[in-house]
Symmetry: C2
Subunit: 274 residues, 2 copies
């Protein structure tokens, strides 16, 4: 019987924060396996007591005490999860709120849901506008889009531009345009003409030829487009172009979308729009 620990992420909202910090901690114990479960929207004492009961039962059936990562603002709801006798509770929120109250010389308002709620319709609109921006021009970029963009991602087909543009829009409300380098662009020693007025906004993405070959082959098996020779040539030419014109660029090969997006923001100094 495998001795996997149960790990719960319990939140009064979406559970995204509890999950991400909890997972960051758990991955530090890579010899162990965990049964992970996210329980969002626990915002009343009744719901909290039901969660406590669930954890209590699990504690009885498991060989080990469950780990419970909690992010619940309201202290009455939080206290209804009384499982300290049978589980290990890590409270991401209340562990720090007292310290902050002392430092800021102010009581926390202890109101739920300000961070992932719609704070204002205006901010929500900014985000959706950015999403629509990246969707509308994904098939082919127009001059108007380039003028409006906060940043223009440039790279060969399937180097990671599309998911990065979408992520920048959804996560940061940033309008990211997507300029695919065509074989003609790669043959030319100059930057694509369309990009010249906006060279300060462009950022390059590159990728290892072997990985590009794999990705393209999934789409168009055994095509010239996907061949390792062609991938190698396109990547070489794209990187030469970036270097020659001083375009900053990064490799997406061993990076998650989060890392690519966050690197671009860090490098360009663009900040979130909502």
């Amino acid at each position: 019987m495998p001795h996997r620990r149960s790990a719960y992420f319990v939140s009064d909202r979406t559970g995204i924060t509890a999950e991400s910090l909890g997972n960051a901690l758990l991955t530090q114990f890579d010899m162990l396996e965990f049964k992970r479960e996210t329980i969002p929207f626990i915002d009343t004492a009744d719901k909290a007591m039901a969660v406590a009961e669930q954890i209590r039962q699990r504690a009885q059936s498991d060989h080990f005490r469950p780990l419970v990562f909690v992010s619940i603002v309201n202290p009455f709801v939080r206290e209804a999860i009384q499982v300290d006798d049978c589980a290990m509770v890590i409270d991401f929120f209340h562990a720090f709120v007292g310290q902050l109250e002392n430092e800021l010389e102010q009581k926390a308002t202890l109101t739920v849901g300000k961070s992932h709620g719609i704070i204002s319709e205006e901010k929500y609109d900014t985000r959706i506008e950015a999403v629509n921006f990246s969707l509308n021009h994904d098939d082919g970029v127009k001059l108007k889009d380039l003028a409006e963009a906060d940043v223009i991602l440039v790279g060969v087909s399937r180097s990671g531009k599309t998911p990065t543009c979408l992520y920048l829009a959804l996560q940061y409300g940033i309008k990211a345009a997507n300029y695919p380098l065509t074989p003609e662009d790669l043959d030319s020693p100059t930057l694509p003409k369309m990009l010249l007025p906006y060279r300060k906004k462009i950022f390059g993405l590159t990728i290892e030829p072997q990985r590009l070959h794999h990705i393209r082959n999934e789409r168009k098996p055994d095509s010239r487009y996907a061949s390792i020779d062609n991938c190698r040539r396109e990547v070489n030419e794209a990187e030469s172009l970036f270097r020659h014109h001083g375009v900053p660029f990064i490799s997406t090969t061993h990076k998650s979308i989060e890392e690519i997006a966050s690197t671009i923001l860090h490098h360009t100094g663009i900040s979130r729009r909502f």
Copy 2:
């Protein structure tokens, strides 16, 4: 002179986790304003010392001690941010790692970047496949897509389906199809024919008519499509359809994309794919 506190989010990776927990804490002090700054990729002692210097200078020019939210795994890098004499440091990672080591009777490996890095190409592919899935059929849904989808979001035009589908793909690797209810669908007492074989996978989105009117009016000002009467009628009919056929649905009006997505997962029991 406004007395805004400086708040830094310092991370060895993207800073997303430090930012989200830090902001959740700061929003509890809504009488105060903060100058927020995220400093990602602090993964060497040299970089950490440079950050410490930056905070130290800010501490001198500000009226208040800066708040520093840190999420850095490597203890040597973490310790290089020695600013406890001039700032308030909240360490999201090391605050809990010791407790977990005791509970799990194992030392933390203290290796960086397992949580947001590409853990395996396979998982990365799952995510990108889901993104491409939601992009490919955004303009018009095909029967094949419905069969392949993990969940099918149904609602009137501009009720929030598109950003939610993209978010489900990017954040959870879930294939979410998008079925827009047309005026013809709304006139019919039955569910759209295409959806019948997949009714267990469908989930409805609705929205307040006033908000829908506002959103549509931005796109097509003064059109019949955007008129408040038409919005009211479409929303009423969509909600009747959902109720009549027992389709679960939620209103997107006062929810962020995170909350909509997380509610759908919670309700349908679908779990993340990567």
